[in-house]
Structure formats: structure tokens, C-alpha cells
């Protein structure tokens, strides 16, 4: 993957077979689409592999010592009565967990005891035995800058109109529902929310569910079955993969955000039909996400819609991260590209990220939603959304749409956009390798080496900044990264504090790998162009 300024172009008169298409100047993108995935420097890659090799050798050594009782074993053990049962876990399955994950386990699952807003209070933990067990000292680390929570529009707050409305709703309705949608769980609040979501997205009708993960895993099986084909992006979320697998359809994977790969698959699918029998496919579904949370890339929606129309496939767009966070009016990636929501057959999203609540939705044509009301597993077997959560979504959505009478929503959208551009520009200038699209509020910063994962997390916490670091298996083994989530609640001062700390830690750990020209005119021109064109 190399840096390229893609002012996109896609020829509408493509020559089949797809290997020789050429770009004409018909621009489908109304503004520049800039994504960069700088290549791993060779020396860094070699050192990373060596690092993992050393860790593996030590892992085997420690396992040996533990087996032969030279070292105390902290692992929980099987019961005496069940010693002759087939072992529940294979030793090698947990090798990575025991020997690599355990060493840096203190960077995850950090308990907090306040609102997960721009600043949070962390519970201090110490470990007497190198991360096998944790103890809470009772102290609280106050006002840690939160660069890890998915709080894009800053609606994670305990004061203000949203919290007041949710409080009223709790008093009136209680907290539980105790029933599924089809039985007695369909409250008037749910109907109100569904109409509002449909209006927000610009679609005919919508349906809401209690959990975002379950929305994908329970509805894709209702729409697709045997004899259907699902074309799924390489880096799709686990819930999408699970839903696709549970449906029983054939799954084919195309390279991440790569339209040539997708077109080839579509071409082959229609020309050759189902494998072995060569019967035509019943339906073809393209499964993509709005923003990919590990890469920070935005889906190439205009091109996908062109392809979808040409090959008559259906499009399922998962906007878990992009709803509320992209677009001048916050309506997601469709709004960002200025496209028509009717072109996307199934628009799915979650309320956890930008709305500060929980749950998921699916929006689309009325036929689709009616069908889901009858056949979705969630409506029949799973509990509906809790009333105060529903109220929180209603209030925050009205705020974003501007229907509550204030301009708070619009201000927050602008703030998020400015924060994103500023943060990315500064990190880029400092010389870090950052992945993803310039407009995405998810900013992955590459660390590569396993030791730096732990070191980065801990050093940032010492400077009172909470960050998220991710390694294998969520990412490819040599591409571990730290991931920042920019929020509209962050002020310029907070971002500056964070950036200074990141720069300090970057110098300390030698993370400034980028070899691109940082102070050249090309870079600053582009960023200043984007900043000056903030609406």
C-alpha cells in the first residue's frame, strides 16, 4: 500500500474483463478523497519479527519452567474430579495469551468511574505479580484525557437535556422491558424512535434493536440464505462476519476498499454462477462498513454504488462508526459523499458511538423493514431496547438534527470536523505514520514492535492521557497500533496537551517512522486547503 492522492476517477465505460479499465476524468467524488497507508519501513519490519521471535522463545522457556514447577503457576486449574476429562483448552491455543498478552495486559480493561467524556477518572490498579492479578489501591486518577472512547459528538454526559430527558423516562417507565418486540415489549417510545431514525437517515422506514452486535448477527441471516452470495470486505467487523456465516450463504472476500478486486468478484460470480452447479446466484450482497475502526479508512461509496447498479447487487452498509461522525449534517457516509440514501439498500448502524446510548438500527425501504419485523430473530426472541436508552437516542438525535431549537448539534459536528483535521495534521507534521482517511475521526498511529505497545500505553498513562493500543489478533501481526478517537468534546487545549505528550513519548520510544516530506509545500497545502474549506 503506498501513498497516493486519489482524486477519484472511475470510468463509467469500463472495458470488460475488469483487468484493463482505465481512469477517465469523470469525477464521482465531490471533494478530494485522501487516504494513506504508508508502507512499513524494512528495518522496522525486520526488528518486529525478531522481537516476536524472542518473545516466542521466552514463552516456550517459561512454559517449560511452569510445567516443571520451577516457577509458580498463576493459571487457574481444572478441578481434581475432572482431571481425566478431555482438556477444555489446548495448550497452544492459549500460548499467545499466556506469554505475550499477559505481559502487557494492564493496557486494557482499565476500569473507570466517571462519565466516559473528554476527561475521565480511572481507577488505579497495581499488580504484585506481573499482571496475573490486579488490586485496586483505592486511589483515583482524576481528569485523564480520554482518547479511547467512541464519544465522537460528546453525548456521553451526565448533565444537560439528554440526561434530564433520560431521567424523566426512567422515573416513568422503569429500566427493564421483560419481553420481546412481538409480545409486550413494543413501547410507544420505540415507535417514536423508529420514525425519527427513518427521518434522520432519509429512508422510508427503520427498525431498532437492543444491541448493535446482535443487529448484524440476527438480521443478515434473515435476508440471505443458501444460494446467495455475500461479498464482504477483508477487514469487516466480527459481527458482520458472524452474521454472514450464520446465514448459510457463500462468502467471498475482496481486498480492503479495493474496487478492482470487488468488480472481479462480481464479474466472476455472475458469469460462472454457483460453484460446481453453475446455477445463477439468487442474490448478491455487498457488505461494507462506513468507517473501518482499525484502519481509519472510509469506504469508497460512490464507486461501490456505480458497481452495484451495474451488476444489480444489493448493498449493506454498516455505519457503526460513521453515523453522526461524518458528513456536514451528521447523517453518515452517505451525507459525506452527497449521495442519495435510496441507493443503499440496507443502512445499518449503532447508537453506541455518536449518540452515547446502546443498540442498533436498520433502515431502508418499507418492504424491507416490514419483512424484518416479521422474520428477524431479534423481534421474536430477544428483548427490546430499554426505555431510558431509547429516550437518550431520541434527544441526542433531535439535537443533531437541530430540532430541539438550539444549534448545539451543528456546532458539535463542526467541532468534530475541525478537531479531526487539526489532530491529523499535527500528528502528520510530527512524523508519525498514521493510517486512514484525512476526514475520519479514528486515527491509528503505527507502533509495529510488540514492546512499544505496552510502553506506549503506560507512558501515555503516566502523562495522564488514556489511549487504546491494539495488537495481534485484531491487527496483522507486525502492524500493531495505537488508536485515537477524536471527539467533539475535546477542546483545542486538550488536543494540544495530548499532542505534546504523544510527541514526547514518540521521541522517547522512537516512533516517528514516517519518511514522507513533512514540511514540504504539497502536504501543508492540502491540509490548509481542507481546513480553510471547513463549512
Amino acid at each position: 500500500r503506498s501513498m497516493s492522492l486519489i482524486t477519484c476517477c472511475y470510468s463509467l465505460h469500463m472495458n470488460p474483463p475488469p483487468q484493463n479499465h482505465h481512469a477517465s476524468c469523470t469525477s464521482l467524488y465531490k471533494k478530494p478523497f485522501v487516504e494513506s497507508f504508508e508502507e512499513t519501513p524494512l528495518l522496522v519490519a525486520v526488528l518486529t519479527y525478531i522481537g516476536y521471535g524472542i518473545l516466542t522463545i521466552f514463552g516456550y522457556l517459561r512454559d517449560f519452567l511452569r510445567d516443571w514447577k520451577f516457577e509458580k503457576c498463576h493459571l487457574a486449574r481444572e478441578r481434581e474430579e475432572q482431571k481425566d476429562f478431555v482438556p477444555l483448552y489446548q495448550d497452544f491455543e492459549n500460548f499467545y495469551t499466556r506469554n505475550l498478552y499477559m505481559r502487557i495486559r494492564d493496557n486494557w480493561n482499565r476500569p473507570i468511574r466517571s462519565v466516559p467524556g473528554a476527561k475521565m477518572d480511572l481507577v488505579e490498579r497495581v499488580t504484585p505479580d506481573y499482571n496475573w492479578t490486579f488490586e485496586h489501591t483505592g486511589k483515583v486518577l482524576k481528569d485523564v484525557i480520554n482518547m479511547g472512547s467512541y464519544n465522537y459528538l460528546g453525548f456521553a454526559e451526565n448533565t444537560g437535556t439528554c440526561a434530564d430527558a433520560a431521567s424523566e423516562c426512567t422515573v416513568k417507565y422503569g429500566v427493564g422491558v421483560c419481553s420481546s418486540r412481538q409480545e409486550t415489549g413494543n413501547l410507544d417510545k420505540h415507535e417514536e424512535l423508529e420514525k425519527l431514525v427513518a427521518r434522520f437517515l432519509g429512508v422510508e422506514s427503520s427498525m431498532v434493536f437492543g444491541m448493535g452486535f446482535a443487529t448484524n448477527s440476527m438480521n443478515i441471516p434473515a435476508l440471505m440464505g443458501k444460494g446467495c452470495l455475500i461479498l464482504s470486505d477483508e477487514l469487516n467487523h466480527v459481527s458482520l462476519v458472524l452474521g454472514a456465516r450464520l446465514s448459510g450463504a457463500t462468502i467471498r472476500v475482496f481486498k480492503h476498499n479495493n474496487m478492482q478486486s470487488l468488480e472481479k468478484l462480481l464479474w466472476d460470480a455472475i458469469v460462472h454462477g454457483q460453484p460446481r452447479t453453475h446455477r445463477p446466484w439468487k442474490k448478491i450482497l455487498i457488505l461494507v462498513e462506513g468507517i473501518y475502526s482499525m484502519e481509519g479508512s472510509i469506504v469508497r461509496l460512490p464507486e461501490i454504488i456505480v458497481l452495484k447498479k451495474k451488476y444489480k447487487a444489493y448493498l449493506y452498509l454498516d455505519e457503526a462508526h460513521s453515523i453522526g461522525a461524518l458528513g456536514p449534517r451528521g447523517r453518515g457516509v452517505v451525507d459525506y459523499f452527497g449521495l442519495d440514501p435510496c441507493d443503499v439498500d440496507i443502512m445499518m448502524g449503532t447508537f453506541t458511538k455518536s449518540f452515547g446510548a446502546a443498540g442498533g438500527y436498520i433502515g431502508g425501504k418499507k418492504d424491507l423493514v416490514d419483512y424484518l419485523r416479521l422474520h428477524s430473530h431479534s423481534a421474536v426472541y430477544a428483548t427490546s431496547m430499554s426505555p431510558p436508552i431509547t429516550q437518550q437516542i431520541i434527544t441526542s438525535m433531535k439535537c443533531i438534527m437541530g430540532e430541539d431549537g438550539t444549534t448545539l448539534g451543528q456546532e458539535r459536528l463542526c467541532q468534530l470536523s475541525e478537531n479531526t483535521t487539526y489532530f491529523r495534521r499535527r500528528l502528520h507534521e510530527m512524523g508519525f505514520i498514521i493510517y486512514g482517511n484525512n476526514d475520519s475521526p479514528v486515527v491509528p498511529l503505527m507502533l509495529y514492535m510488540p514492546a512499544k505497545i505496552g510502553a506506549f500505553g503506560r507512558e501515555m498513562l503516566k502523562r495522564n492521557i488514556g489511549t487504546v493500543v491494539v495488537g495481534f489478533p485484531a491487527t496483522p501481526i507486525i502492524e500493531s497500533r495505537a488508536r485515537f478517537c477524536v471527539s467533539a468534546a475535546h477542546t483545542r487545549e486538550m488536543l494540544d496537551t495530548a499532542l505534546n505528550a504523544i510527541s514526547e513519548v514518540g521521541d522517547l520510544l522512537q516512533l516517528k517512522y514516517s519518511r514522507k516530506n513533512r514540511h514540504g509545500s504539497e502536504g501543508t497545502d492540502l491540509f490548509s486547503y481542507l481546513e480553510s474549506h471547513q463549512d
Binding site: R110, A156, A166, T170, Q182, M211, R245, L368, S386
Partner: protein
Amino acid sequence: MQFAPAYHLILEGILILWIIRLLFSKTYKLQERSDLTEKEKEELIEEWQPEPLVPLVSKDHPSLNYDVVTGPPSHRIIVNGKECINFASFNFLGLLDSERVKLKALSSLKKYGVGTCGPRGFYGTFDVHLELEERLAKFMRTEEAIIYSYGFATIASAIPAYSKRGDIVFVDEAACFSIQKGLQASRSFVKYFKHNDMEDLERLLKEQEIEDQKNPRKAKVIRRFIVVEGLYINTADLCPLPELVKLKYKYKVRIFLEESMSFGVLGEHGRGVTEHFGVNIDDIDLISANMENALASIGGFCCGRSFVIDHQRLSGQGYCFSASLPPMLASAAIEALNIMEEDPGVFRVLRDKCKHVHKALQGTPGLKVAGEPLAPALHLQLENSTGSRTNDLKLLRAIVDYVRYNSRSQITMCVLSIRVVVTVEQTQEEIEKAAQCIREAAVKILK
């Protein structure tokens, strides 16, 4: 004689050259249809028509328009504008409109806001989650508990975390839908045994033993599990837990117990079917339950020994890749647990009411009561089916509507039966009235 070696050399030389050629020749795909021209391929693409995304749904399908509940679904529930007595929501202990629970949830809202904005691994772990996990583990008397943010996802994520491709799972036929989804996601071999039939299960286990003896090396790595529910949601009867534990040790199989309906209902202190039968809780490898019935909150939990539960913190998909439970719901669950612990007498009250309802519904003409007297959710099934499923459904729905209209009692449909739920808040008169009306409805509609 002298010509023989040259002959050999030439033959061997040809053989070696042939081998080298085979080693370096490229493999070719057999499925490439090279007999289509470009024009034909384009035509195929033009002509292909997909099916519509969803089949048409008739506008007057009975389940299309849900009943709208105005206000909280508590004991007195307002359905489609009419106030009814609630015999339909799983609010067994009446905690849905408990003032204490609401106050606790409010104070939690004021402290933490509504959502958690992240999964457990990335600043989504709140101290209330840790507290709730500790309290649940203490209540159930196990080492550890783990919370999920949605009841359906609990057992559906727990099963695939342990049982992988190649493992064997013995499941009861009447297992609920989330268990079936969990099994499907796990890609293991699933063997169904007849509902509550221990002999059928033993037969399957014996067959498996014979298979194992044929291939002992493979048998040493295949894991085996039995998945059962404490109180079955589909048939409202208990599983024979003591016999299952005996089978467990005899055939070396692990037991996963799903207790959504029996948690907070059975047992002297509400600890579920293990307390009811007096089985040692360590004998059950994993107990999973959802907090959406007796605890009147949202979410689910699994509890058991740390050896078993800790694994889910990295491999339970619904735990690692999904946002955590909103803290106000966790606080509500903690307060509900407090109420349960303070007053264990409420379980006896619930059991008495269940027995009462069971007795009152006996003798309804045309409908038979399916379920244990202890079960808080009874099923009324048609004694004589009309033969067609749609007609059966129409009759049952007519009964439900009649009962709602005439006695203001809300009961619901569940697959092919009517479900009647018992809660502690229902009074004697209300139960009598509802039973009376069901009898009337049955006489009128099913004659």
C-alpha cells in the same frame, strides 16, 4: 550385455527429465470455463436478474403490526389504549416498577451518563460492572461471573468460545433459539436427544463411546458438552439435573446450563435449578442466565469457576467486540439483587402463585396446560389441532384477543401455544378472573 547399461541410462535419463518437467509445470484450474467469449460473458451479466431483496409481505399479516404499549410494561399494562392486567411480560418478581431500583438507576445516570461508548477492553469497564460481577458470583456461590450487554448474546457467545469445529455437543430438542444460534456459530457436531429423555441421551453417549474406542487418539482431543436449560422456555418443564450430573461423570462430558427462566425463581433463595435439586454448583461447568426476566434489567451473565469463565474475557465475541452494558442498567441489576437477597420469602410466594394458576387453568375445554406447577410461564396448547398451522394460530389469537377484551388480562402467543406468565404482583381475584375468561373463550371459540 554391454548395451544393457546404455539402454538403462537413456531410460533413466528420460525418467529424470520427465520428473523435472512435472515438478516445474504450473498447476491449472479445472473450473475456468474458457469456452465463453467476451460477448457471451457480457450478455450473461446483462441478463442476470436477482431475486427481490425480500419477498413480499401481505399487508394484513397478523404479526406485522405490533401491539403498542403506552407507558411501562408493569402489572397494569396499557396495550393499544386499553388497560389490562399483565400475564405476558416475564416480570416474575415484580421488580420492573420497583421504586428502589428506579432510584438507584437514576443516581447511576447522574454519575455516569447513559452509554459506555466502548467495549470492555477500551475504557468501557466501569466499577459498577466489576461490582455486579462480584455480586452475581457471590450470590450464585461460584468463583467468577462475566456480564454481557444483551441476554440473547450471552449463551450464543459462550458456546462458541469453548466448543469449536470437531467437538460434540448433546442438546435437548426443546432448547431455546439463542442456544441454537450459539451451536450454529460454533460449527461443532450437534446431536439432539429427545426432550428430557435421559435414556435417549445415554444411548447417544454410548454410541459416542463406541466411536471413541475405534479412534482413541482423536477421542483424546474432542471436547464433549451437554447443553440443557434449567426451566425450558418452550415447554415449561424442568431438566432432570441429578441424572445429568451422574451421566456427566460416567461419560466424561461437561454440562452447560442455561437458567434464564429459573434464575430468581427456583430454589429457596432463588439461585436456580441447582439449589432446587441440591446439586453442588461446582459440578456444573457453566451457568448462563439473562437478567431480563427476574432481575428486570437488560443483559446476561455467565458464572462458574474461574478456570472456565476467564476464557470468555478474550474469546467471547459478544463480550470483546460489543459495547458494554450501560452502567445504569448494571446498577438496577445490583439493586434488584439486593432486593432478592433481603427477602427470600418472595420466591415461596411466587411458587404458590404458580401452583394456583396451574390449578386454575386445568380443565379448560379444548386447551391443555403444558408445564410444571412450579413454572412461572405456562403454555396452553390446543388439545386437538385443526390440522393446519394457520388455522391453529388463528384460533389461539382469537382466544388471546377475547381474553384481553373481556377480562382485561393480557396473555400472548408463543409459537403454537398461548403463554401465561405468573408474577408475584398478581392477586387471587385477578388470577380467577383471567382463568374464568380463558375458559369462556375456549368454549366459545373452540367448540
